[in-house]
Subunit: 200 residues, 2 copies
């Protein structure tokens, strides 16, 4: 096998979910691309790794010191949505239903994986709240044991701020999910947090 | 969304089978890699595209003018296995059951996709056979209409070489396949080409 082919297949198989067979398929596709676009792809990968910054206010990925969301004057600066990762920001932005700010923790508390509270950007969140503009903190964390632990920890840290509303996104049956396949905890949550159906 | 993140996600989503969600996941993985390995990955992609050559004898991918398989003195130079693509060479090499040479056609005849006989490296194959060392040509093409058409075309072109053995890899029921799920053409082939079971 050609060394150049061996190299690209080896490098692409480092990526999660990409085995040697997929890496080979991707490599043969790259071979059929024009040199210009391949140069752009390789450049985008390296620039992203070397030049990306974390927003000094919300810890989201950013090209500059402060991210465009934090700088956007049209966004509601009284609400901050706390998420685990950059991907969650993109998911929530994708809904086009949220106009407030974000705060990216950079993970969840997980003793199994050696992630403690001090590894998360919780102090930065408290500093932001201490400035006084924020009225509501929405916790949008995973419904895993780690997510619930993190939610409990942050809610406790936020308890000292008087008048600050702390909420959690709703737990319930997802759209397209069947009740028969949902676990009991989810069903219990969904029952407990039932909402009134508006009458015609 | 950060421009650097938008760039890498956009570039990775150009690859087949990689949507924006997967591209984002890969990008966040790249973010956690050290700069050195990311530099190596980007370099391997670009070097592969810019420096890879096609073997002047067998049309396989190669770092040099002639590929290592064609140069390997230990391989059986009297047998050539004709395949569609570089990936097929790797699949057959993976079996460690074949010690002859290869010939990569670079596709199959497909009028639907505008691929005619002149787009394939058939003349190069005939030139190689004309040198007189090759005794057997094994056609290892897909069992699609295009593959069968290509096999028929090449077999006809090879008919003029006296004493040249032209074979096709066996068609039959694959290992792990159930007869009940095999199509009738495959079952008919498998029946017709049945092999004797050695008696103890």
């Amino acid at each position: 096998m050609s060394r150049l082919l061996e190299d690209i297949v080896g490098e692409l198989s480092r990526l999660p979910g990409i085995g040697r067979r997929t890496a080979l398929r991707l490599s043969l596709h790259i071979l059929r691309m024009e040199p210009g676009p391949v140069h752009e792809m390789a450049g985008a990968i390296e620039r992203f790794r070397n030049e990306i910054k974390y927003c000094s206010r919300c810890n989201n990925l950013s090209d500059r010191d402060v991210c465009p969301i934090c700088l956007d004057a049209d966004r509601d600066r009284s609400t901050v949505c706390v998420v685990e990762s950059v991907g969650d920001v993109l998911s929530i932005e994708g809904t086009r239903q949220y106009g407030g700010l974000y705060h990216v923790l950079g993970g969840v508390i997980s003793p199994m994986q050696g992630v403690g509270p001090s590894d998360l950007k919780v102090d930065l969140l408290l500093d932001n709240i201490a400035r006084g503009e924020i009225r509501e903190v929405i916790l949008a964390l995973s419904t895993t044991v780690e997510g619930e632990t993190t939610q409990f920890y942050i809610a406790r840290r936020l308890a000292s701020f008087e008048g600050l509303k702390v909420t959690s996104i709703a737990r319930g049956i997802g759209f397209g999910d069947e009740i028969g396949y949902a676990d009991e905890l989810t069903i219990a949550h969904a029952l407990h947090n039932r909402i009134s159906i508006e009458k015609e």
